[in-house]
Symmetry: C2
Subunit: 369 residues, 2 copies
């Protein structure tokens, strides 16, 4: 079943499609098949699952199934659609053959070996090529619509944090606090947490990727929270550490070091700067303070429709910062058996520096619940 488009796309979406097609033309790509849901969403606003988006210089065609027919009409009446009755692969092949394509570029970082083999067989004699990650490259630079979306996701995460902090009581489990934090986000319009929230008490905070569990909050202990909201498909990502009634002295000491490292790194952000150099600024500060080995991960990552996307801020990153990128800045120090501190904000690279999109207080004195 095929449907013809009506109406026009919103301006920001039209711009993305235009930039994508320019890249396709430069790379002499005749047609691209996008099978990553967020990439399709980026170019169309369409949220259908188990679908594929075919892009040619003149067509944008969503290949989907009956479950999503109505939502495609509602979300993006301006694209063509093909509603499959058989398999997705068979429908893709049918559409491509009808368009008399001679080649089709697929996403090598997304398509599985099995799917690639199936597609190659079904699409014959159309030649399958591997597209470089064009959408990923475009998605690195956020437009105004996206920056506002990430700010909305930040506001929801921050309000939920403040509300949750007021509710924390000695004796509560990490799990109960995580439940409350996610509920407060969802009540404020988050479709889901941006990722599984981390709520880690004391020694658990020494594990950078702890699960919230049955461990209870004790007076004089510390809590690390790493959470974010997904609002309108865009994500925020924050980390804060709080003391329960008071901050343990050893944690207070590393808190100051981590905060200084984070502030220095943020101050070092500007377009043209290598991401590894920004990482190095934070890392040098922590190393000089004697905790070099205890900062066991990269400084941060791009953020948007995915919680981890390009660029990467790490020692081995080859990315160079550009205006419009949104990245997390999250140095940390982890002391096994004792606890850990990570402080994380979301930062927009601007024309001449950086603008921090997240605004929760970081003063040590106020990091007490």
């Amino acid at each position: 079943m095929a449907g013809r488009r009506t109406s026009e796309p919103p301006e920001h979406v039209a711009g993305r499609v235009q930039r994508f097609r320019e890249r396709m033309r430069l790379k002499k790509i005749e047609a691209t098949l996008l099978t990553n849901r967020m990439d399709s969403f980026y170019l169309t606003g369409c949220t259908a699952e188990d679908s594929a988006l075919l892009v040619t210089p003149r067509q944008l065609r969503m290949i989907s199934d009956g479950r999503f027919q109505d939502s495609i009409d509602e979300e993006c009446p301006w694209i063509d659609k093909a509603i499959r009755r058989g398999s997705l692969v068979a429908e893709i092949a049918k559409v491509c053959k009808r368009l008399r394509l001679s080649s089709l570029a697929v996403q090598g970082d997304v398509v599985s070996v099995d799917l690639h083999r199936e597609l190659r067989k079904a699409c014959k004699p159309i030649k399958l090529t591997i597209a470089s990650p064009i959408v990923n490259q475009l998605r690195r630079i956020k437009d105004g619509f996206e920056i506002r979306a990430i700010e909305s996701a930040s506001r929801v995460a921050e309000a939920a944090f403040r509300s949750t902090c007021r509710s924390i009581r000695v004796g509560q489990t990490e799990q109960a606090i995580a439940a409350r934090l996610e509920y407060e986000m969802k009540k404020r319009g988050a479709s889901e947490p941006a990722f599984p929230s981390i709520v880690a008490e004391g020694p658990n905070a020494a594990l950078p990727h702890a699960f919230p569990g049955e461990r209870c909050v004790a007076a004089g202990s510390m809590l690390l929270l790493d959470w974010g909201a997904c609002v309108g498909f865009y994500r925020s990502d924050l980390t804060r550490v709080v003391g329960i009634r008071r901050m343990p002295p050893r944690i207070a000491k590393i808190y100051r070091i981590v905060l200084e490292a984070q502030e220095k790194a943020i101050a070092a952000i500007r377009p043209g700067r290598r991401a590894c150099d920004v990482d190095a600024v934070a890392r040098a500060h922590i190393r000089k303070a004697g905790f070099g080995k205890e900062f066991s991960h990269g400084l941060g990552h791009g953020l948007g429709l995915d919680v981890h996307e390009a660029p990467r801020l790490g020692r081995q990153s080859e990315d160079v910062l550009e205006a419009g990128m949104v990245v997390t800045v999250e140095p940390g120090i982890y002391v096994k058996g004792v606890g850990g501190v990570r402080i994380e904000d979301d930062v927009l690279v601007t024309a001449d520096g950086a603008r921090v999109l997240t605004h929760l207080n970081k003063d040590l004195a106020s990091a007490i619940v």
Copy 2:
């Protein structure tokens, strides 16, 4: 960095590893690389992300990074580990070469074309082969530990539903009800919802995959809830429809038809039966009632560590039911602009029939909040 194993695996995990190695032997596979997190969890209990599990007849080696070193020691001290400093691909190649492998089987349905290419290059002269989905095949048949885990996930989902239903008030949004439902699951030990919950009021329920939104609950309207809990990595998946104060008469009519279809389908489940035949039982009942076109999806799917896994219960399914499978049975009727009814339970295929693992009431008379 490499670590040697200590202690022994739990019995149910040892059994899975043994069955996996038997299949490898039958298929003459020298070594398998698992890059799907839930597959690795299935064979080890290890929850590390961004990692890979290498299985040979004598070794189980988790290739991971510093973030997960401690959790691997805690979750599965009985396996070997390799903690990488460079990239995952480089570490995999190093481990495989040290073992002097001549071939390595990877998961064709999991590994991307790009990753496959990188691995092939890094592992040379080791030959990469594509493994048939051995773990998927094993995961179809649940052991006692897994059945209990799915039952736990069902209990959490059910208790959360009952509690949420008591709190529903006219004027609440779908989004607020979904937030409450997920909070109630999380408070009871769910690590996360099994999938994004659907809470759809009136006409929204006619979309089989509606997002919970700003639509408000009205007296005399209906609400469709499709939700599940993830507990200890196992998932439940249920759907119920409730009337607000009373059930709309048109919905009550289709409710009866859907419930009869579901009951007939469950009664048709037994080992040896083709999944498409069970689908046909429900579909025939709905078609005879005049709603054949309004049942626009398959009858159900396997359930376990993933919310959708083998087998598939649909018209085109080639699966045959076996004892130990756990599947959803979820017929539905959707009437555009009016509403929809889907009723879903999780069902274990037993030696001589079926046992329903979910126990929420389905009487039309009690489906009122």
